[in-house]
């Protein structure tokens, strides 16, 4: 009986296996940021423990950091203390840190791949649920809580039970104008926010193979929104081409040895998944969310659903509550929904291809009156590259704000947030109540839809312009 990709990577990292106990799994890369780490470092100090492998650990400041005025101290004293605490902890325990303003700084899930630290077959963890992003390389990557952050710092391992596996096979080709973001929103709408619980999802099929690495990262990033801690895609030539020459990628003979190993990282033909879902890419169109969880999404061409149309009483109640919170009426065409704010950025859609897609739509156009548009690169390197390509000029000429890198309005821990009642089209990953600011209302969209929406002030696809 063959094994799935997830099983191969898992098995290769088992340090210890004993009857009646969880496996002890080795962690190849631990990403750290300011929000979920301070209590873990405190725990180490209180127990007199140290960081076992600072050389497999890297930190960045992303969740709290402002995206303007980087030379000034952070205005919010609580945020400032948290960032300063990370700096002290990294200095004390010898961990490489990319602080605010540093050219290597960025969202934790953007800098790992950018540096070539994320590689096929690795185990990657971070105190952040969007760690699933790194699965795009064929790594087993998942989010952990602060107790587990402390555990990894102290031991470089985690007790784990082998996850179940789920195949999401996307056949056919995505039609022009339909992106990786539309695809993952459609997948989550199909399987629901609990559909992947207890499973590692492997995305397969022609449409997945045709995606760029950045598109694959967008898909894997939102695995957690379908309930799966991890999403994976088998590495292939697209993966190798992306990695080659990156600062931490293997070099010379090591590269050849690595590629030979990476090529073995695919699900065997006779392997069985615990669960399988098949999607036809050719039927997809731009997708947006209408509710307050990422599973509440529909094609942009449709209308706000009537809660009475849901058979399941739990879903019906959730839809009623969502429409009330979102201030929407059943039957309203999604294209008629007007927004105040457009946010482009986050670990889901803050990479260079996302910014190119935005600039392409904005070129020669203007952001609608009364609409505020923020464009926040996922890292300082992405920002630099965008500026070298002149994307920032297009974005600024259209009337959008060009910012420094960070998590920003994805979760509104910094000054970028919605006011109560404001409505956004956002390229981020969560449309939860208050996620982008207390009382704020979020519609999740692709970068292309975000840009087109900024131009008209209503949810719009580029093809509608």
């Amino acid at each position: 009986m063959g094994r799935t990709l997830a099983e191969k990577v898992y098995d290769a990292h088992v340090v210890r296996r004993a009857e009646g106990e969880p496996d002890l799994l080795y962690i190849d890369l631990h990403l750290v940021h300011e929000v979920t780490s301070p209590q873990a470092f405190d725990g180490l100090r209180m127990a007199g423990r140290t960081v076992r492998r600072p050389d497999l650990t890297i930190a960045t400041e992303d969740h709290n950091v402002p995206t303007t005025d980087l030379l000034r101290p952070i205005a919010d004293p609580v945020s400032r203390t948290q960032v300063e605490t990370l700096r002290k902890n990294c200095a004390e325990f010898g961990i490489r840190l990319h602080p605010m303003g540093d050219e290597g700084q960025g969202i934790v899930h953007v800098i790992g791949p950018q540096l070539g630290l994320t590689q096929p077959g690795m185990t990657v963890v971070c105190g952040d649920s969007h760690t699933s992003t790194h699965g795009a390389f064929g790594a087993l990557a998942f989010g952990i809580g602060t107790s587990e952050v402390e555990h990894v710092l102290a031991t470089q391992t985690l007790p784990q039970t082998k996850p179940k596996t789920m195949a999401v096979t996307v056949n056919g080709a995505l039609p022009p104008g339909v992106t990786a973001k539309d695809l993952i929103l459609a997948i989550i709408a199909k399987i629901g926010t609990g559909g992947g619980q207890g499973h590692v999802i492997e995305y397969r099929g022609e449409a997945i193979r045709s995606l760029s690495m950045e598109g694959r990262m967008t898909v894997c990033n939102m695995s957690i929104e379908a309930g799966a801690r991890a999403g994976m895609i088998a590495p292939d030539e697209t993966t190798f081409a992306y990695l080659k020459g990156r600062p931490h990628a293997p070099k010379g003979e090591d590269w050849d040895r690595a590629v030979a190993y990476w090529k073995s990282l695919r699900t065997d033909d006779d392997a069985a998944f615990d669960k399988e879902v098949v999607i036809d890419a050719s039927t997809l169109t731009p997708y947006v969310t209408w509710g307050t969880n990422p599973g509440q999404g529909l094609p942009l061409s449709e209308s706000v659903p009537d809660p009475a149309s849901f058979d399941d009483p739990v879903e019906r109640a959730a839809a009623e509550r969502a429409l009330e919170y979102m201030g929407l009426t059943a039957g309203t065409p999604l294209r008629d929904i007007a927004v105040d704010t457009v946010f482009v950025g986050s670990c889901t859609n803050g990479r260079i291809e996302d910014l190119r897609a935005v600039a392409e739509v904005l070129k020669g156009r203007k952001v609608a009156d009364g609409v505020r548009m923020l464009v926040v690169p996922g890292s300082m390197k992405v920002k630099k590259q965008a500026e070298e390509e002149g994307l920032h000029e297009v974005i600024k000429a259209a009337g959008a704000e060009w910012r420094e890198s960070g998590c920003s309005m994805c979760l509104a821990m910094n000054p970028d947030k919605l006011s109560p009642g404001e409505r956004s089209a956002s390229t981020s990953n969560r449309n939860f109540e208050g996620r982008q600011g207390p009382g704020g209302r979020t519609h999740l969209v692709s970068p292309a839809v975000a840009a087109a929406t900024a131009v008209t002030g209503r949810l719009t696809a580029p093809a509608d312009l």
Binding site: V15, R16, G20, L24, Y26, L29, T36, P38, Q39, D42, A47, R49, R52, D55, D76, V78, T81, Q82, T85, Q119, M122, D128, S129, T131, F142, I144, G145, T146, S147, E150, H151, A154, T155, Q156, T157, T193, G194, Q197, I224, E225, G227, R229, H248, P250, D254, A258, Y261, T292, N293, E315, A317, A318, L411, A412, M413, R430, F432, E433, G434, R435
Partner: protein
């Protein structure tokens, strides 16, 4: 971690599904660097509504939260667990939990109990009709008892043992430091380091 063997207390019915960790504790509370003071942040947006169930006098001091499916989805923030515990909850009962939340809860000694939707619904109805009625969650017997309702739940032996003993995972793992060192000697030598 505080050991958990059996707990008896009053229940709060939270008739909502997809209670994500952003609702349990909004991001603004995550800026703290300490482990305490999160009780005030628990459901802080929802608690602004005087009719929210936690604001009702009859549920003050309750220690068992009975929620709809997909409780604790979303962000990995362990602060959600700290907030629930510091507010006074020892147990959350729901038909389905977010994986990371459930894991975080068992690390901290907050017991997540999965029961079928119809049983959860009966527990919620009972808590609505008789807010003073007590519920017992017996980890040793893997059983929830509420009046004439007796429901068994599943939890793996190891997690149950660890919770009942109140054991620290790191201490347990460090007993296998030799195995970790042996694994490190056989790791592929071209794997990246951050230095």
């Amino acid at each position: 971690m505080e050991a958990f063997t059996s707990h008896t207390g009053r229940a709060v019915p939270l008739r909502r599904s997809n209670v994500d960790t952003d609702q349990i504790i909004p991001a603004v509370w995550l800026k703290q660097v300490s482990r305490t003071g999160f009780d005030k942040g628990l459901f802080s947006a929802w608690r602004e509504d005087p009719d929210f169930v936690l604001n009702k006098p009859e549920y003050q001091g309750a220690s068992i939260l009975v929620a709809g499916p997909d409780f604790g989805t979303g962000s990995s923030r362990e602060h959600a667990v700290w907030a629930l515990q510091q507010y006074g909850f020892r147990v959350v009962i729901a038909p389905r939990f977010g994986d990371i939340f459930r894991n975080n809860a068992t690390k901290m000694g907050l017991l997540p109990v999965v029961l079928p939707g119809d049983v959860v619904d009966r527990l919620q109805t009972r808590a609505e009709r008789e807010p003073a009625a007590e519920v017992t969650v017996d980890l040793g017997a893997r059983e929830v008892r509420a009046g004439d309702l007796v429901a068994s739940f599943e939890i793996d032996d190891y997690t149950r043992w660890r919770l009942m003993e109140g054991l620290d995972d790191i201490g347990l793992t460090l007993r296998h430091a030799d195995d970790i060192a042996a694994y490190e000697r056989r790791r592929l030598d071209w794997l990246p380091t951050t230095v």
